[in-house]
């Protein structure tokens, strides 16, 4: 910097936003305020009872204590409600779970029934394996329905057809072999 002429003469200072716009309003307020103060003063016209501030803390603490005492039954009640609610929730969850299990069981049964209803089990589809390789070979070679007939052959009761000739012959043979009176007695 060589001399003063090197410095621009621009105003480097600024004012708060809307300062000049609100200035006259503020000035007017100040004048009115001054007039009021001249007439009425701004001394606090109120007072407090003797030792009010000295005793205030004691009063406040007793009020605080009273509030705590007042809140205690409510807090106990709230705690009780929370416990009941928690128990209820626990029981409710338990009941819901039991119901869900029962429902699952029911739906499983329904599913099973519908599965059975919808899926016919074909005996030929069952792959049966026995320890004895000869039995296995026989099963593989034979149709399953034949095996069924074969295995039930002994247990099946012979049906008697009265019109069948063999039945008639059977009764004749029976009559020859047994005394007829005995036969009548048996009947």
């Amino acid at each position: 910097m060589k001399n003063l002429n090197d410095i621009t003469k621009n105003n480097a200072f600024n004012v708060p936003e809307n300062y000049f716009e609100s200035f006259s309003l503020e000035l007017e307020s100040r004048i009115s305020e001054e007039n009021l103060k001249k007439k009425f003063g701004n001394k606090n016209p109120f007072r407090v009872p003797i030792n009010y501030f000295e005793n205030f803390t004691v009063q406040l603490n007793s009020k605080k204590g009273k509030i705590i005492q007042l809140l205690k039954p409510w807090l106990s009640a709230a705690a009780g409600i929370i416990i009941i609610f928690a128990l209820w929730q626990f029981l409710l969850t338990d009941i819901i779970n039991t119901n869900k299990q029962a429902q699952n069981h029911d739906s499983l049964q329904t599913n099973n029934s519908s599965f059975i209803a919808n899926n016919t089990l074909n005996i030929d589809d069952i792959d049966i394996k026995y320890l004895d390789p000869e039995v296995n070979a026989f099963i593989d070679e034979t149709d399953a329905s034949q095996i069924y007939e074969y295995t039930n052959e002994d247990s099946s009761e012979e049906t008697v057809n009265p019109e069948d000739e063999s039945t008639y012959e059977y009764f004749i043979d029976y009559a020859d072999d047994n005394d007829f009176t005995e036969l009548l007695a048996e009947l």
Partner: protein, 182 residues
């Protein structure tokens, strides 16, 4: 203990989560300033006492949650102002229920109040203040009697400085007009 030292001590207690110690110091430090702030809003000592106690009960209840974004002073004055406004509104509601005008009742009771020691002129001024809407009344009291800075008021009342200046201007003009009658 001076005010700044006390505020530092309150801050320290709050940092260390020593709420009981912080609360006791807050009561000691701010009870008088808050009382006078409330008293100028509600006017009657018994009402101011009620509101002051409610204010501190609220402070005690929420001290743990005070996030210290604002100054403790601002936070306390904001609670006190809100408590005073709530109190007045409740009283107004009760007055309306019994077909009374709260401001008129308050103005009359001021004359016979044992704890009001103002002269006739001061009584007129208080009556004039009572004609103002709540917010204007608070702004007027804070500026006229306590000479609170607009910036501080702005933080407490959560209102812009411009709006507060306008509010004060209206209040002063209304009071001027009112006192002209006397």
């Amino acid at each position: 203990m001076n005010s700044a030292a006390s505020v530092n001590k309150i801050d320290k207690h709050l940092t260390n989560k020593e709420l009981s110690e912080a609360f006791n110091l807050i009561v000691e430090e701010y009870k008088e300033r808050l009382y006078w702030h409330i008293r100028k809003i509600v006017l009657i000592h018994e009402d101011a006492d009620d509101v002051l106690q409610n204010t501190f009960i609220k402070v005690w209840r929420y001290l743990e949650k005070f996030n210290r974004d604002s100054k403790i002073y601002t936070w306390l004055f904001r609670i006190a102002t809100n408590e005073a406004i709530t109190f007045i509104n409740n009283k107004k509601k009760k007055s309306e229920d019994s077909f009374e005008n709260y401001e008129e009742t308050l103005s009359n009771s001021l004359e016979s109040d044992d704890y009001f020691e103002g002269d006739k002129a001061q009584l007129i001024l208080q009556k004039a203040i009572l004609t103002l809407p709540e917010k204007q009344r608070i702004v007027f009291n804070m500026k006229y009697f306590d000479e609170t800075k607009y910036e501080e008021m702005s933080e407490i009342l959560d209102t812009s400085v411009g709006a507060l200046k306008a509010s004060y201007h209206h209040a002063v003009k209304k009071i001027e007009n009112f006192v002209k009658q006397y």
